[in-house]
């Protein structure tokens, strides 16, 4: 606790510097809104004509706040597609002004392709933060034409795709479980549908997305490698609107509008696939004759403007993958489903004097269930996570030089490990009675201050203190070498089993070299109390989240980063060069020789612990405006793991270690109707473990393997292309068609390699052949119709 107090005192001390540094400085704040719809304008630019260095960009709620010395000014407000507004202003006290902008044309072009409305890259205090406006996401070519935020972020430097067509991603050498994915503050534990080919985020239901690679502000915690913060869209407070789309895989529909004009709004979005219908013709020859499988999503949000100071919202998500399977003439029947659900209630209040408070209550759940009938046994296997959280966050801009954020966060976790139960025809029950739900309490307090030490030097000091307590009921077993329990210790309901805590400093410095460039440096430590270990080439719906407990220590990371950031031609172009170094402790893998299968003991007994290291250079260049827009990202990196119990204790490359990772994204607006876009990616081949020698046992060919992940598959590369046609407006309905081709030149990217063998090993006719498995080895065209009615 002592160091926490010291930090607090230090921050208070910085606050006290203010009278020395400041003359009479006052804050100007408020919101920027669309004059017609009342919608918040995100990313509008405000500046004082007489003092251009003072200004701000509006946030996700259209809010702005900045400070300037006392004086007479002209406030200039700009937003793409809207008339510039100039307001005379006398600043002699803290002032609040709401500004309404009118669109330049009667009908604003809905999709402003790649129009990146965001603060220039050299100005943001957080390192490695990327804002992804949905317009950018929507314009890019994707698999089956399904717009997918998780696939777009993979095109950014430092972020690697988990495989062809996959929504999974790895950030700066961190594992798949080290990304915190938030949807309106609710943790999404499994953001993928259909084995991660599609994300759970319906593009019609979500708003802007922020991704932070590592040096997270103190308000985020619980994961080591990144935060992906996705907000659900608010309904319009002025007009009713219906949007939808019809694609090859799924259709979408969303409805929004005011409940009470200017006071309350709603939005409801749904999406359902028809992959079951689509795939049936291909599967006629299989025993199944088709796949009774589908997934769907529902998003909803109610928003209320209670007063100028108070906003209230309720939002929710519910999604499911559902299917069934019948084999062997009905001898085997199975049903399965998995999915996330969440609910968020959030109240934000602005006090006088630029203090904002945000109170939220969040419920989030992921569950997976697989049940089947075979041989007179009815068996159910399930896993899942359930969270209840409460958060209290404050945001305080005391004056021009300080921006304070502090708060409290609490989450109650219930983790259902992979458990199963079988019932025989005669009613006897067999089950995993030693695998029980685990309970954990996670607390955090945080405090951060972005303080301008001089006009050019910004110091961000943040500190997070997190606690995690595993609580009972819990039984800790000791097993002998034959996995037979020899002893056990039991804990009562609510009794503390084990407590962990961690100090997580988050420090960064920004120094402005001139008006358009800066250097930034950052250091952060973070702790992770929930873990997921995957045995497969991709994470699976049946993978199990486990808490830190008497069996597993928290994962820890330290990251150092340094970068140069520059905007050119008034932010038309921007670029950055970042170097990072990351150390990971208490990383988890399955032990050597772990074979997934029935077990009546916790999966944690199958884990081994080691350390990880990742370092690299990331180059990013982006053109923000104009007919031709896009970006180029390149990462040179190295990621290794060292486990005493794996690979004979020798260091080995992580499976997602990729020396070179490159992406090139461009879009070209040919005319008012046609926009073309393309993306190209290249990555060093994935590291994998391959057999090096063979032997025969009971007549079968078996393998002796080489070092772990010592073999490289072929590099992956792919070109995707899309064309969007704005249809002619019909009555009040706008429409557009998106045609896309995934994998234009049919690259057969390797997904995995293996050595196939056929024939009895004692027979000279035995055949051995190396095989490459590819997921989408051919150009895959798709077409999507989008429409909007207002």
């Amino acid at each position: 606790m002592r160091s926490f107090i010291y930090t607090f005192i230090l921050l208070l001390g910085l606050l006290c510097l203010q009278p020395v540094l400041a003359q009479a400085v006052y804050t100007l704040s408020g919101r920027v809104l669309d004059a017609e719809t009342g919608d918040a304008l995100v990313g509008a630019a405000l500046a004082l004509k007489e003092r251009p260095s003072a200004g701000a960009i509006t946030d996700a709620a259209g809010r702005y706040s900045f400070a300037a010395p006392e004086g007479m000014y002209t406030l200039v407000v700009k937003y793409i597609g809207y008339h510039v507004q100039e307001l005379p202003l006398r600043l002699n006290q803290p002032t609040s002004i709401n500004i309404k902008l009118t669109p330049t044309a009667y009908q604003v072009q809905e999709v402003e392709v790649l129009a990146v409305r965001k603060p220039p890259i050299h100005e943001t205090p957080t390192m490695g933060q990327l804002e992804l406006p949905l317009e950018t996401v929507k314009a890019l070519p994707v698999l089956f034409g399904e717009v997918d935020i998780l696939k777009t972020i993979q095109l950014m430097p430092g972020i690697k795709s988990a495989g062809e067509g996959s929504t999974g991603f790895y950030v700066r050498g961190g594992g798949a479980d080290q990304n915190l994915v938030l949807l309106d503050r609710a943790t999404v534990y499994n953001p993928g549908h259909l084995f991660n080919f599609f994300s759970v985020f319906n593009s019609d239901a979500i708003d802007n997305t922020t991704l932070i690679k590592g040096n997270m502000p103190a308000r985020y915690g619980g994961r080591l490698s990144s935060v992906l913060d996705i907000g659900m869209k608010e309904g319009s407070y002025k007009n009713y609107q219906v949007d939808g789309g019809v694609g090859l895989i799924s259709s979408r529909l969303s409805v929004q509008g005011p409940l009470v004009e200017d006071k309350a709004s709603f939005i409801l979005s749904g999406r359902r696939t028809y992959v079951d219908l689509l795939l049936s013709p291909f599967l006629k020859n299989t025993e199944q004759g088709g796949i009774p499988y589908y997934f769907y999503d529902l998003n909803g949000k109610l928003s209320f403007i209670l007063s100028d100071q108070d906003r209230l919202s309720f939002s929710g998500y519910y999604g499911r993958d559902v299917g069934e399977l019948t084999l062997s003439d009905g001898r085997f029947k199975a049903d399965f489903f998995w999915g996330n659900s969440s609910a968020t209630a959030r109240w934000s209040h602005t006090f006088s004097g630029n203090l904002e408070m945000d109170v939220s209550g969040v419920w989030s759940k992921y569950d997976f269930e697989f049940s089947w009938d075979f041989g007179g046994f009815n068996t159910v296997a399930e896993t899942g996570v359930e969270d209840y959280s409460a958060n209290l966050d404050f945001n305080y801009k005391s004056n021009a030089r300080h921006h304070l954020q502090y708060g409290l966060q609490y989450t109650y976790h219930k983790l259902r490990p992979r458990a199963g139960e079988a019932e025989s025809a005669s009613g006897e029950l067999f089950g995993t009675d030693r695998i029980r739900t685990k309970y954990g309490h996670e607390y955090a307090v945080y405090l951060s201050d972005d303080v301008y030490l001089t006009d050019k030097l910004l110091l961000s000091l943040g500190l997070r203190n997190s606690y995690f307590t595993q609580s009972g009921p819990f039984t800790l077993y000791q097993f002998d070498e034959n996995n037979v329990p020899t002893d056990s210790t039991s804990y009562r309901r609510g009794e503390g089993v084990k407590t962990f805590s961690a100090w997580e400093p988050r420090v960064s410095v920004k120094y402005d070299l001139d008006k358009a460039s800066s250097v930034k440096a950052a250091f952060s430590k973070s702790a992770q109390y929930l873990h997921l270990v995957s045995n497969a080439y991709t994470t699976l719906p049946l993978d199990v989240w486990v808490p830190s407990s008497a069996l597993v220590e928290p994962q820890l990371a330290s990251q150092y980063a340094l970068g140069y950031f520059r905007s050119m031609k008034e932010n038309q172009y921007e670029g950055s060069l970042e170097v990072y170094f990351k150390d990971l402790e208490n990383q988890l893998e399955y032990r050597q020789g772990f074979a997934p299968g029935p077990s009546n003991r916790d999966l944690e007994y199958e884990f081994v612990t080691g350390s990880g290291r990742s370092y690299g250079i990331e180059l990013f260049l982006r053109k923000n405006y104009g007919k031709l827009q896009g970006w180029f990202g390149y990462t040179l990196s190295r990621t290794t793991r060292t486990f005493p119990d794996l690979n004979n204790g020798q260091k080995f490359p992580a499976r997602y270690d990729r020396r070179h990772d490159l992406s090139l994204v461009a879009s070209y607006k040919y005319n008012d109707r046609w926009t073309f876009a393309g993306s190209f990616v290249y990555g060093t081949g994935e590291a994998t473990t391959m057999p090096v020698r063979r032997y025969i046992l009971e007549g079968t060919v078996n393998y002796q393997y080489g070092d772990r992940n010592s073999f490289r598959m072929q590099p992956t590369h792919r070109l995707d292309f899309s064309a969007t046609l704005e249809g002619k407006k019909w009555k009040n309905i706008e429409n557009s068609w998106t045609f896309s081709i995934y994998n234009v030149y049919g690259r057969r990217n390797p997904y995995l390699y293996y050595i196939d063998n056929e024939g009895n090993g004692y027979d000279s006719a035995v055949k051995l052949q190396a095989k490459k498995v590819s997921i989408v080895p051919f150009p895959l065209p798709s077409v999507t119709l989008n429409f909007s009615w207002k």
Partner: protein, 312 residues
């Protein structure tokens, strides 16, 4: 029984993906040669050890390579009840018919291969002085050209089946097919493991194709009735899915039901898992857990019982 859940997950995966496979050429390192033990001991029978060496994955497939993979002149010792027995290397041709039969059965070989009429000669290490006994532990020590391999296994107590019976195919049109069911009463103490083999009429015994071993982790002390799939030879190009697991009406079926110890069970469980999931995106390679220190393979004891039934 939970295992079918994973097999299914992989079936599901392969159906859902548009995946395609193609043959490629890969340049694999040669790796370091290791010795492989395939050794068993069973009640009333002598210990038998086949000792081979690993060869590069893409080494020629030929009788010469097979013959060269046998390791000759190794020191092989079995330690039982405080006494050491040296196993002598013999050509299988020289073995008595009884021992040949037993080896064919234990090692899943066609008896002809041991008769020396095949394209290469089989060599085994065995001893006539030692016969396996129930409830005993057997150490193994092998040394060859500076390499030392050690292991230990046990022949548990017999753990027989209660009964077998025949059930018609669920589809009445498949009148000629029968599913074999078994009833098994598990002893009270946990830690019983079994490996099974089936023999149809005059065919050899084959272990269960995808899963030949069972553990009592979930059924400790219980009596269960469950289907038992017909064993099949491994390495077939394609499994006939319509016939998989079934016997024919009128078949004479013998089940070889062998109690084994935990490391022996774990070896087959992991080996079969690795074989079943070779090339599957939802598993990881290199999981076979040998019980041989310093080498690969298995040294395993069997406590065997037999049951025979005619499928009505």
């Amino acid at each position: 029984m939970l295992r079918s859940y994973f097999i299914l997950a992989s079936i599901l995966c392969s159906l859902l993906l548009f995946g395609c496979e193609e043959d490629i050429t890969v340049d694999l390192p040669q790796g370091e040669e290791q010795l492989v033990v395939e050794g068993h001991i069973e009640q009333g029978l002598p210990p038998v050890v086949i000792l081979t060496r690993t060869v590069p994955v893409f080494a020629d497939v030929s009788p010469e390579v097979l013959e060269q993979s046998f390791v000759h002149n190794a020191q092989v010792t079995v330690i039982a009840e405080g006494q050491s027995y040296t196993l002598k290397e013999v050509s299988s041709v020289a073995l008595s018919e009884d021992v040949k039969q037993a080896i064919a059965l234990q090692f899943g070989l066609i008896p002809d291969m041991l008769a020396g009429t095949g394209s290469f000669v089989f060599y085994v290490y065995t001893s006539e002085e030692l016969k396996g006994r129930l409830g005993k532990t057997y150490g193994l020590r092998i040394s060859h050209e500076g390499k030392v391999l050690t292991s230990s296994t046990s022949i548990p107590q017999l753990n027989p089946l209660d009964s077998l019976w025949s059930v018609p195919h669920p589809n009445p049109e498949e009148d000629s097919l029968r599913q074999l069911y078994y009833r098994y009463s598990d002893p009270d103490t946990i830690g019983n493991y079994v490996r099974y083999f089936t023999k149809r009429n005059n065919e050899p015994f084959y272990p269960g194709l995808f899963a030949s071993v069972f553990s009592d982790e979930f059924v400790n002390g219980a009596t269960i009735d469950y289907p038992l799939d017909r064993g099949e030879p491994k390495g077939q190009a394609e499994i006939n899915e319509d016939l998989y697991g079934y016997f024919g009406k009128g078949d004479t079926v013998t089940v070889r039901w062998a109690a084994i110890d935990m490391p022996h069970y774990r070896f087959w469980f992991t080996l079969e898992n690795e074989q079943n999931n070779n090339g599957s995106p939802i598993s990881s390679p290199n999981i076979t857990q040998s019980n041989i220190e310093g080498g690969l393979g298995i040294w395993g004891g069997y406590a065997v019982t037999y049951n025979t039934i005619i499928m009505k």
